[in-house]
């Protein structure tokens, strides 16, 4: 068991690497899969020291729901931001900083949350507080910073908390 852990420090990463290699080659032939397996074995083994913990997923199926919500929000975000850019004068926009207190504690979950915030409506995640308890987000147009904070917490953070913790 211990040996298996040494050889496969990140089994999910290994599986992902095989899949990515097949996609890169645009084929699922035996050659490709075998070479993908070799890469899936070597890369996690060589980089294990930089990533000692395994992220634990409590409810992996929730990822599907999360992805659907995020992709939908990205489409809406694009239209909203395009409207703001094309039809609003700069002076009528109110760009603002918002601090989002985090309940998430795992580094992987916070990374996913920060990435999601950057891809969705008029928000870019800019910084984390020194102890990792608050996320600093910049909004393109936020008159009411509290509602932005509450929306991010209920829409993304709650789901990530269910997935990761």
């Amino acid at each position: 068991m211990k040996l298996a852990r040494r050889v496969f420090p990140h089994p999910h990463l290994s599986a992902l690497l095989v899949l990515v290699w097949c996609l890169l080659n645009n084929s699922f032939s035996l050659n490709t899969v075998v070479f993908g397996l070799i890469l899936g074995l070597v890369i996690p083994f060589a980089t294990a020291q930089y990533w000692p913990d395994r992220p634990r997923l409590k409810r992996p199926l929730m990822i599907v729901e999360y992805l659907i919500v995020v992709i939908w929000d990205i489409i809406v975000a694009n239209v909203v931001v395009a409207y703001l850019i094309l039809f609003r004068r700069n002076a009528s926009l109110s760009p603002n900083w918002v601090a989002i207190p985090l309940e998430l504690r795992s580094a992987e979950a916070i990374t996913v949350l920060a990435g999601t915030i950057t891809l969705t409506p008029g928000t870019v995640s800019a910084d984390l507080s020194s102890g990792g308890h608050v996320l600093l987000v910049h909004c393109l147009n936020a008159e009411d910073t509290d509602s932005v904070r509450d929306e991010i917490k209920s829409r993304y953070e709650r789901r990530l908390k269910e997935i990761f913790e």
Binding site: N90, A99, S130
Partner: protein, 129 residues
């Protein structure tokens, strides 16, 4: 039938072009650096996404081949766009912001991009300039 496929591909390409244009236009039009960051991180996602969807439809329906390269480009784009934006935002905070500009960091003493040493550093940089 062939015409219908080509029209679908064309529609996706037009959507992609419009959003790509809006993203680049926003970069010029918006006034401060942090607002400018919003335009390329978002409008370009759908801009590139539209081209990729068009490419997949074209491969599947016109060339009769399943092409999955495009999915990978989407994934890489979704991974790299936030990281680039985060780097630029962090550099901006590091160079131009003080504690007074940013909201209260709650239970922690300060924002990570804004340590006391950094403030001293930016001070000396300004002096040199």
């Amino acid at each position: 039938m062939g015409d219908l496929f080509e029209i679908t591909v064309a529609i996706f390409l037009i959507i992609a072009g419009v959003f790509g244009f809006v993203g680049s236009f926003g970069l010029i039009k918006l006034s401060d650096p942090m607002s400018r960051l919003h335009a390329p991180t978002k409008a370009t996602t759908l801009g590139v996404g539209g081209v990729l969807i068009a490419s997949m439809i074209h491969a599947l329906l016109v060339e009769r081949q399943l092409s999955v390269h495009e999915l990978l480009i989407t994934i890489f784009l979704f991974l790299t766009a936030p990281i680039t934006a985060h780097f630029i935002a962090k550099a901006y905070i590091h160079r131009h912001c003080t504690d007074a500009d940013l909201p209260d960091p709650g239970p922690d003493p300060r924002w990570a991009g804004l340590t006391e040493e950094d403030e001293a550093e930016t001070g000396s940089d300004a002096h040199q300039a």
